[in-house]
């Protein structure tokens, strides 16, 4: 398949869009039929995983074990084993929470907002990005849960009658956060699952093993691809996209209220909600790029997740990174313009105080390096985008570090100033949360169709009912009997040999 992936890039080959209104360039490269898509995606959930998967999984699982062990240690000893203390009561746990929630936002953005804007290129990556959302939000929820100190009392944050006959404090932004993040998780979960149902039915119909077939039949709910069902399904999907869009924008706004509603210098600003949302999308897209670069390489999905997809994501990284950088500068301006001594000091202290190193890492990784994506060759280069996307997430973690730590460590009274240092438990739990994230993501790659097959088929030119009036039938050769073709390089060569005039699907 690698041999054929450059085929449509040949400028002499006209875009195969006989009805004239199709997309100018194809989203799926290399003349694939519907069955090829099924085959390319499903086989990874059916055959044995490659060796690289086992290696990655064992590393990730060790990280998860580290996380579980250290969380037990934290519960046993109290959260003082983290570096949290006076004056910095919100240390790494809150930094990590905001970091992970932010990562999640890209998945919803890709699945909901790009759906509403009819960006068909999203179909190749939305499934994996949504899965990433779910796993990132799970990683995020760990931190506030354990940061409350008495994890067994976490249900007090929910309006459940308890032995104290007291209710949660609904006027607190921290409680809004509980509702925002848990609603976000539940809506993302049903959105993801609804999208999965037709693909699980595909796996069910391919299943050879009795129990595998039964389990998939349970989760695919008896889906038959009936048009009477597609009709309501598409409506529900559209509504979910419409609902998830304001939700995702609200979640990070509510997270920013945790800071902005307080009176701490450096936190008490109205710019926080939009600035947090832009930062969340920025970091989330960077994480999607990091993961997709690896996934398409290992799972041979270069025809489905193409360089064009990655380039589009890099453009979004460039745009949101610039917005975030603009917000940093605006914050400085507002601090000066406000005339408030404490606010001005908070910002001077950020850039030139004891945490200046963190501030300049943030500035470099978020504002400076993404600007390289202005160059087309750089944003289409796999090694460059891989490194830059990791830089972005380093920068975004430091952004939350700067906001949380520098504002707390020196507030109004110099007598209560201090310097925060992380402990080995801070580092261990944070590393462990990556372990949990990758464990879940690898399990997803192993057992769930990682590309939304039904959606990809729906945006292929053959899916247009008028396409076939010009010949070609959507199947490859034969009468639709199962066959396996794409793995054979000889056939790919044959396609190439047919040259530029081979613009239609292989006909009967």
């Amino acid at each position: 398949m690698e041999t054929s992936k450059k085929l449509p890039a040949d400028p002499s080959a006209p875009a195969p869009s006989p009805s004239g209104d199709g997309a100018p360039s194809r989203l799926v490269k290399g003349n694939l039929s519907f069955h090829d898509i099924t085959e390319m995606v499903s086989r990874h959930a059916e055959k044995k995983a490659p060796l690289a998967w086992y290696v990655a999984f064992s590393v990730a699982l060790s990280g998860t074990m580290l996380l579980l062990g250290l969380l037990a240690y934290v519960v046993w000893n109290g959260i003082g084993v983290w570096g949290n203390n006076q004056p910095v009561g919100w240390g790494w746990p809150i930094v990590n929470f905001v970091f992970w929630v932010g990562i999640g936002h890209a998945g919803t953005l890709i699945s909901a907002i790009l759906f509403l804007f009819r960006q068909h290129w999203r179909t190749a990556i939305n499934r994996a990005a949504e899965a990433m959302t779910l796993f990132a939000v799970m990683c995020a929820l760990i931190w506030p849960t354990f940061h409350v100190g008495r994890v067994w009392a976490i249900y007090w944050t929910l309006p459940i009658p308890n032995q104290m006959a007291m209710w949660p404090q609904f006027k607190s932004p921290l409680l809004w956060d509980v509702f925002a993040v848990s609603s976000y998780f539940l809506v993302s979960l049903v959105f993801w699952y609804v999208g999965l149902v037709p693909d699980l039915a595909t796996l069910r119909d391919r299943a050879k093993n009795f129990w595998r077939q039964r389990i998939l039949a349970f989760f695919s709910l008896g889906w038959t691809g009936s048009n009477r069902h597609w009709r309501n399904y598409e409506k529900a999907y559209l509504l979910l996209a419409g609902l998830a869009t304001p939700l995702v924008l609200s979640v990070h706004s509510v997270v920013s209220f945790d800071f902005a509603v307080s009176v701490i210098p450096g936190w008490h600003t109205t710019i926080f909600p939009p600035y947090f949302v832009a930062g969340a999308i920025f970091s989330g897209f960077a994480m999607v790029v990091t993961l997709m670069v690896i996934t398409r390489e290992i799972y041979d999905l270069k025809n489905v997740i193409t360089l064009d997809h990655l380039e589009k994501m890099n453009i979004i990284i460039l745009v949101t990174g610039t917005i975030v950088g603009f917000a940093y500068i605006t914050e400085f301006f507002m601090a000066w313009y406000s005339g408030v001594q404490y606010e001005q000091y908070a910002f001077i202290n950020r850039a030139f105080g004891p945490y200046a190193w963190a501030y300049w890492i943030m500035m470099t990784c978020n504002l400076v390096t993404p600007q390289l994506f202005w160059f087309k060759t750089l944003r289409r280069s796999i090694p460059v985008m891989f490194v830059l996307s990791i830089f972005v997430n380093i920068g975004m973690w430091f952004e939350r570090f700067v906001i949380t730590i520098t504002s707390l460590h020196r507030d109004f009274l110099p007598s209560s100033w201090g310097y925060f240092t992380a402990t080995w438990v801070d580092i261990g739990t944070f590393v462990g949360s990556f372990g949990l994230f990758f464990t879940l993501f690898l399990l997803f790659l192993r057992f769930v169709p990682m590309v939304a097959m039904a959606e990809v088929k729906g945006v292929m030119p053959q899916a247009d009912p008028h396409y076939h009036e010009h010949g070609g039938n959507g199947h490859a050769e034969g009468d639709g009997e199962p066959y396996i073709k794409p793995a054979e390089p000889a056939l790919a060569e044959a396609h190439r040999g047919n040259g530029a005039e081979d613009t239609e699907a292989p006909s009967t």
Binding site: H35, W167, V187, R206, W223, N227, R228, A244, V254, G458
Partner: protein, 201 residues
């Protein structure tokens, strides 16, 4: 004549077998376009209990089958959203002003402004649940048993094959005549699906 309940179930894509346990005729078509024209032809011939099956939604199929706009899901999502919004308001008002009022500097026990974020979140949450539960209910899902699953070829409906199914519960259904119609409109392969698991090609 199908009863009202049978007609309602048919709108969900659930058809009843006839006295001989015949579920219907399953015809395979070559591509989305052929299926679209076939659905049009079958509807113009007067059939009502029929359905098409495809690996992805086909643009224009709702019109071809004469189904009209699907409004049910939207209505249910709307009521879900209203439930969430009103529920969040009542929850915050009742807990703060009625069940456990706290007098803080003589301020009012309850105010709308700080209640907005949770009202917003629960509106979205319940609207999403309404949309998904409504979609499943209106589709008659989950539906573990479906006689169409007896067909081996039908497994391709989630891969790359396109089927039209005329149900035996339709008034006009007649094995010979319906099969002839399907043949005429270009079906590549026709089989008779029975509820007891047997099959006639």
């Amino acid at each position: 004549m199908p009863t009202l309940v049978q007609d309602l179930k048919a709108r969900l894509g659930i058809f009843e077998s006839d006295a001989d346990r015949v579920y219907g005729l399953l015809a395979e078509f070559s591509d989305p376009g052929a299926l679209l024209h076939a659905a049009e032809a079958v509807r113009e011939d007067g059939y009502q209990h029929f359905d098409t099956h495809s690996p992805f939604p086909i643009h224009g199929m709702d019109e071809a089958m004469g189904l009209g706009n699907a409004t049910g899901v939207g209505v249910l999502a709307f009521f879900g959203g209203v439930t969430g919004c009103v529920g969040a308001y009542l929850l915050q008002w009742w807990t703060a002003a009625v069940d456990y009022p706290l007098n803080i500097s003589g301020k009012p026990f309850f105010a709308v402004e700080p209640s907005v974020p949770i009202m917003f979140e629960l509106t979205i949450l319940f609207a999403a649940f309404g949309a998904v539960a409504g979609m499943l209910a209106l589709n008659g899902l989950p539906r573990p048993y479906n006689p169409l699953f007896y067909s081996e070829r039908f497994k391709g409906a989630t891969d790359d094959r396109f089927f039209l199914h005329i149900a035996a519960s339709d008034d006009q259904f007649d094995v010979e005549e319906s099969a002839a119609l399907l043949q005429r409109i270009g079906a590549q392969h026709i089989e008779l699906v029975k509820d007891d698991g047997t099959m006639d090609a």
